[in-house]
Symmetry: C2
């Protein structure tokens, strides 16, 4: 797929298979897998409601328990990245979209990792469901959102 779709897709993107690898975030944008070039949460307005369509877990945040079939994703905002002037994360934008997606729609997960040579690789890891979300206090004492994500394929294999 070399042409930007322009339309936001929930679920699998045609032509993209689990395990497909990419080097740059902009590639994810071009094929419509994850549009923000920096943001970790992609979402859209569906029937007047924000729903999450994909997330990138690159390890940029000091998150999370990552297993092969589940992960805990940290919400955005609150200056968690730059660590300057930390604030409570708000239930808006991507965080709101993930909350609205709980137990509802599939969310594409892209896992990013750092290579030995210093470059990065992004791997499409398939569809997940946001099982639940909660707030907790980070090391700085401010509130952050956490989203429990579980792989959907396993459920499908059981005969969904």
């Amino acid at each position: 797929v070399f042409v930007k779709s322009g339309k936001q897709i929930i679920g699998a993107v045609p032509g993209v298979d689990v395990g497909d690898k990419f080097q740059y975030r902009v590639e994810l944008n071009i094929i419509g897998l994850h549009r923000p070039t920096q943001g970790g949460i992609d979402y859209g307005n569906f029937g007047g409601k924000l729903l999450a369509t994909s997330i990138v877990a690159s390890g940029g945040y000091a998150d999370d328990v990552h297993n092969k079939n589940s992960l805990i994703y940290t919400g955005q905002g609150g200056n968690v990245m730059n660590r300057k002037d930390p604030e409570d994360q708000k239930l808006e934008r991507g965080n709101l979209a993930l909350k609205n997606s709980v137990q509802k729609n599939p969310v594409r997960v892209i896992r990013g990792s750092n290579m030995l040579n210093g470059s990065r690789t992004y791997v499409y890891d398939g569809l997940y469901l946001v099982e639940k979300y909660w707030q907790e206090r980070g090391p700085h004492g401010k509130l952050v959102f956490k989203f429990q994500m579980n792989r959907l394929e396993d459920i499908n294999l059981l005969g969904n």
Copy 2:
């Protein structure tokens, strides 16, 4: 040219002609025309001395008198871009390299402009010489560097 050169070139880049157009800064990096993906001044260490090799004039700074064959380029630093906490620009990095290049080596000039549809275009505008530089005070009262750049081709045509 699809392979990153890796080596820093002073003067014309083989295969790139004056007037060649590009859409993204990363393209300039790939062909070795201008390596920084954001920075306006590219430079290298040549014999222990920093020399400028190329600049991008996108209008990001509130510069400059731009004619077809000359322009006045504003130095970098001092928070001129984001306008927060302005400071005096320092004679270091790109600014130092441009200063060292005065009346010395050719500098590639790429002109950026905003398209009607909101996208950008970068046009390679050929080789220029840094005629002179000076400091002046910006609207915020802080010192900024200015570099007078004149097109080199005209001189060549006269039989340099």
